[in-house]
């Protein structure tokens, strides 16, 4: 990163946890162009475990310093940086506070393709369940559908618990292999969600 656009002072901070002030020049106090990485923006390590309460507080603190409302009387350049920064701040907050979106983001940043996953690829271990649900739906068998629904819900819970375990594993090791497993889990989870929606009749 080069120096401050305004006074040329070298960047005071290097992107790790330094609070809201990391976004401003230590020399002249002017707002700097925002980092594009969501974790960097919040001054967080690139880890999958995020303390939700701390994230909320940091979001409010950053909003209080960066929001365009506070830059109306500044120069055009800082106004633009404020708009860019706040857009990234809001996008980053939405992404990081949700474990699934957070994991997808980290995967993407690590070069994984997590674009529109085709839910047509049925995870093999779910084939039997899908078959049973379709039968039940076709026959409008309410009890069977309800049973399937509760089964899927518990599968979703298990899947979330497994994902949390893998998150911890990744944060200890930064092992790419764990990310591959997490991607598999995300696909499976997405599929189960679709099944729940189908069973609910909301799809």
């Amino acid at each position: 990163m080069s120096g401050c656009w305004n006074c040329g002072a070298p960047p005071a901070f290097t992107g790790r946890d330094t609070g809201e002030e990391a976004h401003f020049c230590a020399g002249c106090g002017s707002l700097q162009p925002p980092p594009s990485n969501y974790f960097d923006f919040f001054g967080l390590e690139r880890k999958l475990g995020v303390d939700a309460g701390a994230l909320d507080l940091r979001f409010y603190a950053l909003s209080r310093r960066l929001h365009p409302d506070l830059f109306f009387r500044r120069g055009e350049r800082e106004r633009q940086y404020s708009l860019d920064s706040t857009a990234i701040l809001n996008d980053a907050y939405r992404t990081l506070k949700d474990p699934v979106k957070r994991a997808e983001y980290l995967l993407k940043e690590n070069g994984f393709d997590v674009g529109e996953q085709k839910s047509a690829n049925v995870p093999p271990e779910l084939l039997e369940e899908v078959f049973e649900l379709n039968m039940a739906l076709e026959e409008s068998a309410k009890e069977e559908v309800a049973a399937a629904l509760s089964k899927f819900r518990s599968m979703l819970g298990e899947s979330d618990a497994e994902m949390a375990r893998q998150f911890e594993r990744y944060d200890r090791s930064f092992d790419r292999g764990v990310l591959v497993e997490i991607r598999g889990l995300l696909n499976r989870r997405k599929y189960i969600r679709n099944l729940i929606e189908t069973a609910n009749g909301t799809r």
Partner: protein, 615 residues
């Protein structure tokens, strides 16, 4: 006016807050500690959102214009907000219920006829804004050029853009559009810095909004918003009018529904009865027209049965909003009511049942939005500290993909500013353009959403299909307005984008309207100066005439008398000039010519006075 001394407020600039409503509009400002509504020339806080075009040009706005609804229905327009940012196809239903006279050639932009001229909705809204600006300038004794303007939370991009255009045409820089329910929360939150979850239920003349906010040490974070841009007090009025018209037809044996004057009189009678029913157990609709009278008593019970389904239509959006905010009714700490229609007891009861909380009514529901706009104005000017509004976009933003399907880029209820980046490429070798169709709405198919604009990525370097990579950034700013930028992902060079808005005015059209309004404003100003000069000329001519009868006149020399006669003739010649300077020049000359006469008369008067006084 020369100020005796000036206080330097540093970089702080006056920013006013404006509630540009369907029925009424208000302007407010922050005094040292509190937001205050600025009264108009007639002393009233509410300026009816009614505009009338005079027969000699010139416009009347507000309560004076509202009176003209009856005498000059074809030159007067109300509820123009309903047409803001909308296409002719959108307003077909509106046109059945409201006496808008849509002019020919309204395919791309609606034009409304007032007398012999036509205006776009932003131009008419600009007339209302100009009146508010004038009121503010008169009250604050300083020029006002910057404003925060409120819009219904559920307004889409085109409606927001139209509101900004109206500001520009009126000579006001709209620093920020604030959602009406959020503004109301800001007005309420001013003195109470607490944590909690607040629901704002805003039922106005033409629109309904519901917003759920989380308060956190002065931050007002909107969690979700929902609404209906076509639901409000007007719907209640229209229903009562329809019933009264049927009644009248059977009583009088005549259909008066096509008589503009009669319908306007009836509308007023219906509104009066509706308003009384908020306090009284029954009220009469009374219409006197062409020496015939119609009276109908409406009990509260009958009224409530008539409007129950209209009130119920607000409940669906409320439930969706709760679900989107992921809160239960029990978690709502406070409910704030906004908009004149929330005075109706049935509305209050419905809100109480749904949210299981007694709604707040300490602030005047007509004024609370303007007060909140003034607080936001104070935040922008630096006058109000430690308060911040984090609002959301009410509708999802998407682009059209294969098969007329929408791919959502920014979901509804995302905090704004919000952005999304997509990479586009070409489908055929050597393709130079890519057209991106942007829509707003929640449905899966493009045809069920609202078209915002088409963005044409131009001058793409010719390459094999799929090779170019153009990164397009969609940004919704804090006003809820979209902008699009594009760059070549390989080179980082900016890519030119041509914007074709689906509705509304192009920048050039707005510029032309601004110029036209400046020309008109100058003409209006010149006309006033000429009128004032003529009044002065009348005064001096009358005085000169009268002086000719006095003895002092006879004492003047022949030359002096001739000088006066010449000056009078010259002034009479200049009188009909449309340049006030020419009139004034002759007034000065006549003044000079009559100087001796005036002195003589004064001396004579003093002499008479002394004679009559016993010393």
């Amino acid at each position: 006016m020369n100020p005796v001394f000036q206080i330097d407020f540093g970089a702080q600039e006056r920013v006013v807050g404006i509630d540009l409503g369907t029925t009424n509009s208000l302007v407010a400002y922050m005094d040292l500690t509190h937001p205050r509504v600025i009264p108009g020339e007639d002393g009233a806080m509410l300026v009816p959102s009614v505009v009338s075009l005079g027969r000699a040009g010139g416009t009347t706005v507000g309560s004076e214009a509202r009176k003209l609804l009856i005498d000059e229905p074809s030159r007067t327009v109300y509820s123009i907000k309903r047409l803001m940012g909308r296409g002719i196809a959108d307003v077909a239903d509106e046109l059945k219920l409201f006496p808008f006279r849509v002019a020919e050639g309204s395919e791309s932009v609606i034009r409304v006829s007032l007398g012999e001229r036509t205006f776009t909705p932003p131009e008419i809204s600009a007339m209302i804004l100009r009146q508010l600006k004038k009121n503010a300038e008169a009250h604050l004794c300083e020029p006002v050029t910057k404003a925060v303007v409120t819009v219904p939370a559920y307004f889409n991009d085109a409606q927001r853009q139209a509101t900004t255009d109206a500001g520009r045409i009126a000579g006001l820089e709209v620093l920020r559009l604030v959602n009406e329910p959020t503004a109301a929360a800001l007005a309420y939150g001013l003195d109470k810095r607490k944590q909690g979850i607040v629901a704002v239920y805003d039922l106005g003349g033409g629109t309904f909004d519901i917003s759920i906010l989380k308060l956190h040490d002065g931050i007002f974070e909107v969690l979700a918003t929902n609404g209906d841009t076509h639901l409000g007090g007007d719907d209640i009025d229209n229903r009562m009018i329809r019933i009264a018209l049927e009644d009248i037809q059977s009583e009088w044996g005549e259909d008066i529904s096509h008589n503009g004057e009669a319908v306007q009189l009836l509308r007023r009678a219906v509104i009066e009865a509706k308003e009384r029913l908020s306090f009284a157990p029954s009220a009469d609709i009374v219409l006197e027209f062409q020496r015939r009278a119609y009276t109908r008593t409406i009990t509260r019970e009958l009224f409530e049965n008539l409007i129950r389904d209209i009130v119920d239509r607000t409940l669906g959006p409320c439930r969706s909003c709760l679900a989107d905010a992921d809160v239960t009714p029990e978690q709502i700490d406070e409910v704030v009511l906004v908009g004149g229609s929330t005075r109706i007891p049935l509305v209050r009861a419905a809100v109480e049942v749904l949210f299981r909380a007694k709604p707040h009514t300490d602030l005047n529901p007509d004024e609370v939005v303007a007060l909140g706009a003034a607080v936001q104005a104070g935040i922008l000017s630096g006058q109000v500290e430690d308060q911040l509004l984090l609002d959301v976009t009410p509708l999802s933003l998407g682009i059209e993909i294969m098969g007329g399907v929408v791919s959502k880029l920014i979901h509804r209820n995302s905090t704004v500013p919000a952005s999304a980046t997509e990479t586009f490429t070409t489908g055929v070798e050597g393709q130079r353009n890519v057209l991106i169709h942007v829509v707003q709405g929640e449905r899966e198919l493009v045809k069920d959403c609202r078209s915002l604009a088409r963005f044409d990525l131009k001058d793409i370097p010719p390459m094999p299909a799929g090779m170019p990579r153009i990164e397009v950034r969609f940004l919704i700013d804090a006003n809820g307005i979209l902008s699009v930028t594009a760059r070549d992902a390989r080179t980082g060079v900016g890519q030119s984008v041509e914007i074709k808005p689906s509705y509304g005015l192009t920048d050039e059209q707005v510029e032309a309207m601004i110029e036209e309004s400046i020309v008109n404003a100058e003409a209006d100003f010149r006309a006033r100066q000429v009128a004032e000069a003529r009044v002065e000329a009348d005064t001096i001519l009358a005085a000169t005439d009268k002086a000719k009868q006095s003895d002092a006149y006879l004492d003047l020399s022949a030359g002096e008398r001739k000088g006066i006669a010449t000056a009078v003739n010259m002034l009479l010649l200049a009188y009909h000039s449309d340049d006030h300077l020419i009139i004034r020049e002759q007034i000065e000359k006549l003044n000079a010519a009559t100087m001796t006469l005036a002195e003589n008369m004064m001396n004579a008067a003093v002499g008479r006075a002394l004679k009559g006084t016993k010393i």
